[in-house]
């Protein structure tokens, strides 16, 4: 954590004589060290071997999917794609703490969360392969599609949460954004409203240290991103975003609180973007490979695996079985994705409105006629 000491200039000394009207603190949650050692008493779900294995499997699946997606892009079979390399614990940890009828409002990097929610990998590929039908997914129908303009889904999350509160439904809106998004007014406006109305809404910040080429220190002078919630009247917590037990525990606590009417929370998951911003980016232009190498030592999959091996009797054979299953799973999805043909051109008019206005039916017909037969 970066500390910004306040300079002991004259005005500050004078200010010290004034009374303090507000104070705050930000806590950090972590359970597993980077080698999998247990740092403090674990939450109760950590005794559930089946659950931990499913979290492990989901992270391996997300990584396998990402690597295959990149090779699809490199061979011209997928459009621009953003991996979650190194941040798998964030998406899986959050999604695993949600109920099916909660609403997820993801960013473009949250493939791992979507997969946990039941969105099929071939559907995700279809969207990034340039086809809107990928968003007509088999995951929860009420979950939002990937948000591309940064932070602009935060106000939607407030609207969704308002609807829950208005209808007295015990549901929670979950919004995932990146560190760069915390610089945008959209997030502030949404947090501010959520605070006023005590909405059932949890903001998660995937603080992966880089917004394309801009490092966190250029993004903000704030000591933590979690503290940005405090001005909106609710608490922010920092978690080790490479420790899935910490992410899930923080998510469970925040979502449970929101569900019972305790208002919004913000969780800052501190992690690292081990890959490029997207396949259209080359991170070697702006960051040192040594920095990335150091961060590989903290990545989340190795960490959970070390814990499973040390405390849950997890074997090499089991690890390899999961790896193989994930490979097969992804390969199957790729096959289905590649077999999907393009939609008919005139379908670009479909779903523009509930019913296409007569003013545009001529244009639709023109497209239909152009491509007929």
């Amino acid at each position: 954590m970066r500390i910004h000491p306040i300079p002991p200039h004259a005005e500050y000394k004078m200010a010290q004589e004034l009374s303090v009207v507000a104070t705050f603190e930000v806590r950090r949650r972590s359970y597993l060290g980077s080698d999998g050692t247990v740092l403090r008493e674990l939450p109760s779900f950590a005794t559930d071997r089946e659950l931990l294995v499913s979290l492990y499997r989901a992270m391996v699946l997300a990584r396998t999917f990402d690597l295959k997606a990149v090779s699809l892009q490199r061979t011209g079979r997928l459009g621009t794609y953003a991996t979650s390399l190194g941040q798998e614990a964030v998406g899986v940890g959050i999604a695993s703490a949600m109920q099916p009828n909660d609403v997820l409002l993801p960013s473009y990097r949250d493939n791992a969360a979507l997969q946990w929610r039941g969105v099929k990998m071939d559907e995700i590929l279809l969207y990034w392969g340039g086809d809107e039908r990928g968003n007509l997914w088999s995951g929860p129908a009420h979950d939002f599609p990937f948000c591309i303009p940064v932070a602009s889904q935060a106000p939607h999350a407030a609207g969704v949460a308002y609807a829950f509160k208005y209808r007295k439904q015990a549901r929670v809106a979950v919004c995932i954004i990146g560190d760069g998004a915390t610089s945008k007014g959209d997030l502030w406006e949404a947090m501010n409203f959520a605070g006023v109305w005590k909405l059932p809404l949890v903001f998660f910040v995937n603080n992966n240290q880089w917004a394309i080429s801009v490092p966190l220190k250029t993004q903000t002078a704030s000591q933590t991103l979690a503290q940005k919630a405090i001005a909106a009247g609710f608490s922010g917590e920092q978690v080790d975003g490479n420790d899935i037990i910490a992410v899930r525990a923080a998510a469970e606590a925040a979502i449970a609180a929101a569900r019972v009417g305790d208002g919004p929370r913000l969780i800052e998951a501190v992690t690292y973007r081990l890959g490029d911003h997207t396949t259209a980016d080359d991170a070697s232009r702006y960051r040192q490979s040594q920095e990335v190498q150091e961060r590989w030592k903290q990545e989340p999959i190795v960490r959970l695996r070390a814990y499973l091996v040390a405390h849950m009797g997890w074997s090499k054979a089991q690890e390899e079985k999961v790896a193989t299953e994930c490979e097969e799973h992804v390969e199957g999805a790729i096959e289905r994705y590649l077999a999907a043909g393009a939609a008919a051109p005139q379908t670009m008019f479909d779903h523009l409105y509930a019913r296409l206005p007569a003013a545009y039916s001529g244009q639709r017909k023109e497209v239909e006629d152009r491509f007929r037969g």
Partner: protein, 326 residues
Amino acid sequence: MAELTLVDAINLALARALADDPDVVVFGEDVGTNGGVFRATAGLQRRFGVERVFDTPLSELLISGLCVGMAAQGLRPVAEIQFMGFLYPCLDQLVNHASRLRHRTQGRITCPMVLRTTHGAGIRAPEHHSEATEAMLAHIPGLRVVIPASPERAYGLLLAAIRDPDPVVFLEPTRIYRAVKGEVEDSGEALPLDVAFIVREGRDVTLISWGAMVKDTLEAAEVLAADGIDAEVIDLATLKPYDEATLLASVSKTGRCIIVHEAARTAGFGAEIAAMIAERGLLSLLAPVARVTGYDTIIPLPRLERDYMPSVGRIVMAARNACNFG
């Protein structure tokens, strides 16, 4: 039947929608206790409660984004942006989300929302309070843009906008909020959202306008009538989509077309109508299509705003020129 101002008709439609449908929620800056800066929401919070009619923080981007989130959950948000000059923080939400949510999810999530804001100059307001940038909105696929010009149409069109399954920007002509009155029956009946209204029939020239300028255009038609020129006046009412058929039928009857809007001329919505008539109605034209518009300047502060806006005289002159052409 009651004689109402346009702003009272808006209020009546909001009350009707709130009473008819528990999914309707009304919000914005000062819309609660204060009843809106123009009193369009007066009395609604007292009648329907603070959860259904509420004040938001001073946060226009939020207001538009809240609409998207609520609409995605099946509510029918009807939000107010006090002045069109403060609508611009909402453009990201309108362009990137509201207008395309249905399409980008292939119908999985829809966005039935109404964003109300005021439109136009002529009330001697401060800077940024007199904007007429409707063409910008009409350029956004997936959106509907509506602007009423009478109390009766304000009532029917607002009910239609609220019931419509897609996002609507509803522009309210500030200058005639209280300057026009009309009989409005609280029938609960909506008007169609893609039909232009012939508000005066005539044979010699078609005058097309929308919003507050419809009033001036009707006055111009009276002046022309005294000259023996029989003008047909059309209130376009919906800019996106707009009713090409009614405009073409009128122009084919009169052979002359004048488009009147207070927005700046270049790339104004009049350009779209002129192009459409050139493409589809050229052979019925007896004179070039003419536009009577605001100038390509920033809308001036109140001392000059009347000089900027199309006057009855300018409309009359354009119509006479068309009738004397050739």
